[in-house]
């Protein structure tokens, strides 16, 4: 199994989830994140005090999938999240040694 971590622009979340379900992914977990990279953040001014934040809002999607599904999932995320503008994000793939569904006790591939 593979853990796929995708960092994408927040307004693309719904499309990415749709794309993932399209390739058979049945579960995922999302957290809100701040990204640092080539895309620059904003400058805010409060009564003359200027703050340039180098962070931009992102969502972090993680999903564990079958080895077979992994490339398709990466593909799907990539297609859905792309706007061709800087800051579109990254997708990382990591090996997972085991998985467990708490409710049923099923493990590994059947647990996803």
């Amino acid at each position: 199994m593979k853990l796929i971590i995708a960092i994408v622009k927040p307004f693309k979340l719904d499309e990415v989830v749709e794309a993932l379900t399209g390739v058979g992914v049945q579960g995922l977990t999302v957290t809100e994140a701040k990204g640092f990279g080539r895309q620059k953040g904003h400058t805010e001014v409060y009564r003359g005090a200027e703050y340039s934040t180098s962070f931009v809002p992102k969502v972090r999607i993680e999903t564990v999938v079958d080895d077979a599904v992994a490339p398709k999932a990466v593909e799907a995320i990539s297609a859905a999240a792309k706007t061709d503008a800087i800051g579109d994000g990254k997708i990382f793939t990591i090996d997972v040694s085991s998985a467990l569904r708490i409710r049923t006790g099923e493990t590994d591939d059947t647990a996803l």
Partner: protein, 451 residues
């Protein structure tokens, strides 16, 4: 001044044009000999106290009231933008009002559509100037009449913001406001509230501004949201209110302030003002309950946003009726407005594909129409209204309908011109990227929240 046409209407419409004790047109300093500083003796202290506080209450409606009501409905990323727009246009309206607005609406001479420019910069007004009320020999200081009316202009300008928020530029709203006040608000205020004004002379019933404020703002906002177009992603993307808590606070403050708006329109602290206040309670309560009932009956859960929306619908509808209705008429008009607005906003609007962000037209426009027409009925003694025994509701309904029609047409045309010019000068709406990032950062360089 506010028309208390109810009495005259009852006495026979023929005598209308002549009789209104509407002395504001020539508020002669009531004691010109008294060069000393104290206010002239005919100024009633109790009424003055009342009107000062009523004016303050209307301010409470604007900031923070209306700003929070609208702001809560916006998404987090546009919160500061909404608040700034309401604050900004209200401030601009105040400056314009004392500069030439008061004179245009309530100057000493004038025709059916507009007064004059004799009081620009409030020329000739002093702390001793009095403004007539509806009772002979009772006056209030002209300064407080000016201030009270000023808050009406300011809140009406603020109401329009709700239709185009989350995409209109701040500069667009400012330019729009300046033009729109001049060609739409001041003339309609004159037509409805000044002796010699077109609608005033018809004998239309509008206790506190159903046409001038609500229908006017509703239609103008609708025109704006058609001209500027929908928000990106609407209606596909979810755009739930970022804070119903803020919307509830706004609702509460609007309700509280509305007692000044409706009660103060009597200009005196008397039984009619008391009635207007009581009606403003029960019509609103009725609006809250009936909107939630509407949700229930159509298979949804009664919601807080529904309750708040019903409150505003009730408040809007009771505005023209406040002193022109008994408490049960007020309950009925509140219920009717809530149900009609509920139907419009939740059923008709999605079909029309309108993106009137805060439903200014759906609630103020529609609610104002229900209220203005309904006032013809709430006057009826049969349901506890203050009309005389020979009061003719159908005759009055026709007058009301004409008044509503004029308000709609004038507002639609005038607002279209104002939006068009504002768009030309400033661009109208922000770029797609800026809209996506949120107007807080892109227009104002700040965030409403930094948790």
């Amino acid at each position: 001044m506010m028309d208390k046409i109810k009495y005259f209407a009852a006495a026979g419409l023929a005598t209308l044009a002549a009789s209104p004790a509407f002395a504001l047109e020539a508020p002669a300093p009531t004691a010109p000999a008294m060069a000393a500083a104290e206010a002239a003796t005919t100024i009633a202290k109790g009424d003055t106290a009342f009107m000062i506080i009523a004016t303050v209450l209307v301010m409470l409606m604007i900031v923070p009231g209306l700003a929070l009501f609208y702001g809560g409905l916006a998404r987090t990323k546009n919160m500061a933008s909404v608040l700034t727009q309401v604050l900004g246009v209200a401030c601009l309206a105040m400056i314009i009002w004392v500069t030439y607005g008061y004179s245009m609406a309530f100057g000493d001479t004038g025709n059916a559509f507009i007064a004059d420019f004799g009081k620009v910069f409030l020329k000739g007004v002093t702390a001793d100037s009095g403004a007539a009320t509806f009772s002979d020999g009772v006056e209030i200081p002209e300064y407080i009449f000016i201030a009270f009316q000023m808050t009406f202009a300011a809140i009406t300008a603020g109401l329009v913001v709700g239709g185009t928020m989350e995409r209109a530029k701040f500069s667009t709203m400012m330019v729009f406001t300046a033009i729109w006040l001049t060609i739409v608000y001041f003339p309609i205020a004159h037509m409805v509230w000044a002796t010699g004004g077109l609608i005033f002379d018809w004998g239309a019933l509008d206790f506190a501004g159903g046409t001038v404020v609500h229908i006017n703002a509703g239609v103008s906002a609708l025109v704006g949201c058609l001209i500027l177009g929908k928000r990106i992603g609407y209606p596909k993307e979810p755009m739930p209110p970022h804070s119903l808590t803020m919307t509830l606070i706004g609702t509460g403050l609007l309700w509280v302030g509305w007692f000044g708006f409706n009660g103060g329109s009597e200009l005196e602290a008397d039984g009619v003002a008391s009635l207007a206040v009581l009606n403003t309670f029960v019509a609103t309560a009725s609006g809250v309950l009936f909107w939630m009932l509407g949700e229930k009956v159509t298979g949804h859960k009664g919601s807080l946003l529904g309750g708040c929306s019903g409150a505003i619908a009730g408040l809007v509808a009771v505005t023209p009726a406040a002193g022109n209705s008994g408490p049960f008429g007020a309950i009925l008009i509140g219920a009717a407005a809530a149900l009609v607005c509920f139907w419009f906003v939740t059923m008709l609007k999605p079909k029309l594909g309108l993106d009137d962000t805060a439903d200014v037209f759906g609630i103020h426009g529609i609610g104002g129409i229900v209220g203005s027409l309904g006032t013809a009925f709430t006057m009826m003694p049969a349901i506890g209204g203050p009309g005389d025994a020979d009061y003719n509701a159908i005759a009055q309904l026709i007058i009301q309908a004409k008044a509503v029609g004029v308000a709609i047409v004038w507002a639609a045309v005038g607002a279209a011109i104002a939006w068009f010019i504002a768009k030309l000068v400033t661009g109208g709406r922000v770029s797609e990227e800026k809209e996506r990032d949120g107007l807080d950062l892109s227009e104002h360089g700040e965030r409403a929240y930094n948790y």
